[in-house]
Amino acid sequence: MGDDTPEETARIIQILLRGYQFSDADLFKPGYDRWYNILDRHFDWFREHLSLSGFSLRRDHSVIFLEKENKLLSQEEKQIVVVLFLLTDLWLEKGKSFGDLFQLSVSWTELDWFRDGYGREYLGQVGIEMGDDGEMEQLFRRLSNKGFLEYSTASRTLTLRRPAERLINMARRLHRQIQAAGVDARKEEARNHE
């Protein structure tokens, strides 16, 4: 890649700066397939040049995104984590397969989001109140701009994409960390008793 393709380079950088996360799911998205291929093939070039202006480009398997500078979790990020985790949990609870979340048009409104003592509490903790479909829909639409999912406003359905999978898979690591922390805490407690 040289100076003869500055528009595409700039376009890719612009999309990254808007917070879009590229992934191999883009291979099926017209226009984006080309950009993903360029970015994937010249990842080091992009990383070095973006780092000159203070951005750090990262890749996690096929997902390529700009690292956030300030790692303090925003309310929106918390909402994203809870909503995606809960979506997957409720979907699997219905006996559906994990893979289908990434292939079918999932009618999210049919899921039991605000069940007492479960989803309702979790959503409440991140400021999504009982029955606030509108806010969740807004969130899904914002996520679709970031490459996390496809959203159809007409049918109110969504299909997850690779960046969402990356986030959902973090649950396994978090689960282990929380468990480890629990074990440590118990050991600590036992030591204090002695």
Binding site: D3, P6, E7, T9, A10, R11, I13, Q14, L17, R18, G19, Y20, Q21, H49, L52, S53, G54, F65, L66, E67, K68, E69, N70, K71, L73, S74, E76, E77, K78, I80, V81, V82, F85, L86, T88, D89, L92, E93, K94, G95, K96, S97, F98, G99, Y122, Q125, K146, F148, L167, I168, N169, M170, A171, R172, R173, L174, H175, I178, Q179, A181
Partner: protein, 427 residues
């Protein structure tokens, strides 16, 4: 079976083939269900099936009697029935259902083949080969091999169908139950197949031995020319052996692989489900552990970004090192309440200042000096504005010198430039 059939037929009444077809046509769904039932069917079960297929209680007895008369059902004992195996074979063939066979049965049959192969060997290499004995043995082998072929294939179909059902009808059932079910199927019907395809195990060696004996028989032209019958049977047997070697073994491998893949994906799902539920239950814990990850980048609004070409040029400057911001770690200060006009440097404000002054030397320095009350981010944006603005009413004159300035949070270093206002002429 045949004996019983004759007994029944003579004791009741002989139905025509037409009658059989008409009866079989009556309740096809019911018949398909009955054929899927392995072994003996109790009367109670039979009645339940009829219930399910909407047969009125008054008609049930008559239908059972009619099934028995047409030899679709055999009355094995009082209130116990079995379905005519010919019907079962036909229905299952066309329904592509298959029937589960215990792998142990297949193994026993293969050992039986091995025994018969030994007999064949003795007969073939006897000083005076005995034609009748050879034909009989080949015939016996043929029957057993055919049985292995058929039940093996049925087993394959039944297992595949079971997997399909599991995938399709998994709704509403918790994942643990599904894992248990699959594990049971795997242990009972799939795992034992491994022995049948293991090249070092007895069954495979027995089949190899049979192939060798068949080859021996094939080269013995004298023996074959003596009997057309033997030749036909040999050819028939060879087809089945070939089928077992090439198709059935591969089917069994597929079964083992499919079962393992299915189990893995279920276990995978279970692990993610458990992890999700645990994480949701401890949101506080997640926030603590998510401190090193990027969830989303808030990004710039489309309205804040400049036009494509300008932005491209700007980033080219960045890329080629003409403009080097030196980021320092951000220090976070809590927001104070401030008047809005001291927080944001609007483009209008900057433009009106340019218009008033007509000419501003060293724009970056000017911005830093003049707008000292504004946050560093805003001043940085103001410095960059002339470089990225579309259709500016002013001219940017690049100078030879390099400008460097301090913006508290960044050090800025770039080629210095002046602004000359052109007003409406510039557009």
């Amino acid at each position: 079976m045949t004996l019983k059939f004759n007994e029944k037929a003579s004791s009741v009444s002989i139905t025509t083939f037409q009658g059989f077809l008409a009866t079989a046509n009556l309740h096809q769904g019911l018949l398909v269900d009955l054929c899927a039932e392995p072994g003996v069917i109790s009367r109670a079960k039979l009645l339940t099936y009829m219930e399910r297929h909407g047969i009125s209680p008054a008609d049930k007895d008559r239908l059972i009697e009619r099934y028995c008369r047409t030899s679709i059902l055999y009355e094995e004992a009082d209130f116990e029935y079995s379905v005519n195996p010919v019907v079962v074979g036909l229905v299952n063939f066309y329904e592509r259902r298959g029937r589960l066979t215990h792998a142990g049965f297949l193994r026993d049959q293969i050992f039986e083949i091995g025994k018969l192969t030994d007999t064949l060997q003795q007969l073939l290499f006897a000083e005076l080969p005995e034609m009748d004995g050879i034909i009989d043995t080949v015939d016996k082998i043929y029957l057993v091999v055919r049985e292995v072929r058929e039940s093996g294939y049925q087993h394959y179909q039944a297992c595949m169908r079971a997997f399909g059902d599991m995938k399709r009808n998994s709704g509403e059932r918790p994942i643990d139950v599904r894992i248990e079910e699959l594990k049971t199927v795997h242990r009972r019907y799939i795992e034992p197949l491994r022995e049948l395809i293991d090249p070092n195990a007895e069954p495979v060696r027995k089949m190899a031995l049979l192939r060798r004996r068949m080859a021996d028989l094939g080269v013995d032209a004298g023996l074959l020319s003596e009997s057309v019958e033997l030749d036909i049977r040999r050819a028939r047997l060879a087809i089945d052996i070939q089928y077992i070697d090439h198709v059935l073994i591969r089917h069994f491998e597929t079964l083992i692989d499919t079962s393992r893949a299915l189990l893995n994906s279920l276990l995978e799902e279970k692990s993610i489900k458990d992890a999700l539920a645990a994480c949701l239950g401890d949101l506080g814990g997640i926030w603590e552990n998510l401190t090193a990850d990027t969830i989303v980048l808030t990004g710039f609004q489309a309205s804040q970004t400049a036009g494509m070409d300008r932005q491209g040029a700007f980033f080219n400057d960045v890329i080629h090192g003409k403009f080097i911001p030196r980021p320092r770690p951000l220090s976070i200060t809590l927001p104070k309440e401030e008047r809005a006009d001291h927080l944001l440097l609007f483009d209008d404000l900057l433009l009106s200042r340019m218009e008033k002054d007509r000419r501003i030397d060293s724009w970056p320095g000017f911005v830093i000096r003049e707008y000292v009350a504004y946050p560093p981010d805003e001043r940085l944006k103001a410095i960059a504005l002339p470089l990225i603005m579309a259709n500016p009413p002013f001219v940017v004159r690049m100078s030879e010198q390099t400008f460097s300035g301090d913006l508290k949070e960044y050090t800025v270093e770039l080629t210095d430039f002046d602004i000359v206002w052109e007003g409406d002429n510039g557009r």
